[in-house]
């Protein structure tokens, strides 16, 4: 029997180690970004391979809530029924777990949405308006899953400060300036500036 198309494409991506992340609104913000980056042609971004999810991204941005949000690399995701980026550690599934209540969700702000796709597979999307960039779900996904959730500075929000106040507080040295025409450092993609 042939594999579901989505699953095949995910596996193909897994194999190649390449992916695309779900970054809604990237194209729509290009003009804003161009205006903000006219000075230097660069913007701030964090390297998800270096980030240790210390929490500083949520609380050190000059913006409140932070310009940092979680993004989801769908091609790396396992579309798991029991995603531990979505469920809290120790969550014990019962017959009702397909429609979990807020108390069964890991994200304190309820920013992760779970939707059944097919068979035992579920899709997880981020409501960016609710996400504050705390990184808790990134930890869960990294520990148990494929690490498909990760933090990024969202350039439809970031003010591109001369000195990014998160960069100054980042214990992992994860921040650097990247070219404004490649403003995201997506896991698995060779976008190194």
């Amino acid at each position: 029997m042939s594999e579901p198309k989505k699953q095949l494409s995910r596996r193909e991506m897994l194999r190649r180690g390449a992916l695309g992340a779900g970054l809604a609104g990237v194209a729509g913000t290009a003009a804003v970004l161009a205006a903000r980056t006219a000075r230097s042609g660069t913007v701030w971004q964090l390297d998800p391979e270096k980030c240790i999810q210390c929490g500083n991204c949520a609380v050190n941005c000059v913006l409140d809530p932070s310009a940092v949000r979680v993004v989801h690399a769908f091609a790396l995701c396992g579309y798991c029924d029991l995603c531990f980026g979505y469920f809290p550690p120790g969550f014990e599934p019962d017959d009702e777990f397909e429609t979990p209540g807020a108390e069964s969700q890991l994200c304190p702000t309820g920013a992760i949405l779970r939707r059944w796709t097919e068979g035992p597979h579920f899709e997880y999307t981020i409501d960016e308006a609710l996400c504050i960039g705390c990184g808790k779900c990134v930890k869960g996904c990294g520990a148990f899953g494929n690490g498909s959730l990760f933090l990024q500075v969202r350039h439809n929000r970031c003010l591109n400060c001369n000195e990014c106040s998160i960069a100054a507080a980042c214990p992992a040295g994860a921040y650097r300036r990247v070219p404004a025409d490649h403003p995201y450092l997506l896991k698995g993609e060779d976008q190194k500036a």
Binding site: Q7, E12, R15, N56, G78, F144, N146
Partner: protein, 308 residues
């Protein structure tokens, strides 16, 4: 700028689940072998309880006492290894299997079975070789000579009406999917996305399954576990998990019998803990981050094992 603070609800804490009742830990580490490999990926035990370690374009062989006994270069990048009772050593790259004589001579390279392919587990019996393919979500069944005999996908045959005849097949969310040969013609397959171990005939007929999703020590934690498994003498099964790295032994019917190594025995990020048992029931555990294979033996104080 004064920094804001995150409340305690934003803390991610696994410490409660890393603790294991010491009375359940029936094994202790008795030795560790440095593999000398940067990325050791798979282990197997062969005749005379020799230990085989694959990785870094090599297979390293150690005696049962852990002393180096061979170092074979491979042309491919090996991901897993299995040894047949007669001594033939099978090594798999992502997309194909190669067979080596007991002295390390490469005998054959088999044609890739699927595309895309990511072979992550190998098992060898007398005359049969099984390769679990995480990309195909299937186990390839070969003859010892490399002829493809079948594809086991864990889905029920169209006529099978039984509720538990196999369900949606093998669910493999991450690149860990293992297979092992059990006693008397039984094939053991980890179905990680269903958090269980499934038993098949060599022809791919589903027989039974056991295992449940749970952070409790009896269960398989996270989205996709166990990552590895192997049969012990007497029909028991040793499994390993990622997320909460832990190695456990189950009775043939799936009851937790012993903890071999609790999460505290490993780095928090440990994964890829391949397992292999020798004829005395000693358990080798590959620890890729430590680049070691660690030997666990039953404690003298452990309670007697229940007879299967």
């Amino acid at each position: 700028m004064a920094s804001r603070k995150l409340g305690p609800e934003f803390t991610y804490d696994l410490s409660e689940f890393r603790r294991v009742d010491p009375d359940l830990i029936h094994y202790e580490q008795s030795a560790a072998v440095g593999t000398g490999l940067k990325e050791p990926r798979g282990i197997a035990v062969g005749p005379e309880d020799r230990l085989y370690v694959a990785g870094d374009r090599a297979v390293r062989v150690f005696g049962s006492d852990g002393r180096a006994a061979g170092d074979w270069a491979t042309q491919m990048d090996p991901r897993c290894v299995a040894v047949a009772p007669a001594g033939t050593v099978y090594v798999a790259a992502a997309d194909h299997v190669e067979a080596f004589a007991a002295d390390g001579r490469r005998e054959t390279a088999w044609k890739p079975a699927g595309q895309p392919s990511l072979i992550t587990g190998l098992a060898a019996a007398d005359g049969d070789v099984f390769a679990s393919d995480a990309a195909a979500c299937a186990v390839w069944h070969y003859s010892a000579a490399g002829e493809l005999l079948g594809r086991i996908d864990g889905r029920p045959a169209p006529a099978a009406a039984a509720k538990d005849a196999g369900g949606p097949g093998f669910i493999v969310p991450s690149p860990y999917f293992d297979v092992a040969v059990g006693p008397a013609g039984v094939l053991l397959v980890a179905n990680p996305g269903r958090r269980r171990v499934e038993l098949y005939t060599y022809d791919g007929i589903f027989k039974s399954s056991w295992g449940a999703a749970s952070f409790k020590i009896e269960g398989f934690c996270g989205c996709c576990n166990p990552t590895h498994l192997s049969a012990l003498p007497g029909g028991r099964i040793v499994t390993s998990e990622k997320g909460l790295p832990r190695v456990k032994v189950y009775a043939p019917e799936g009851r937790l019998a012993s903890v071999v190594a609790p999460p505290a025995a490993f780095d928090e990020a440990a994964a890829g803990l391949d397992v292999a048992a020798d004829s005395a029931g000693r358990i080798w555990v590959l620890d890729p981050l430590a680049r070691q294979v660690r030997l666990f033996t039953r404690k003298k104080t452990a309670p007697a094992e229940a007879k299967p």
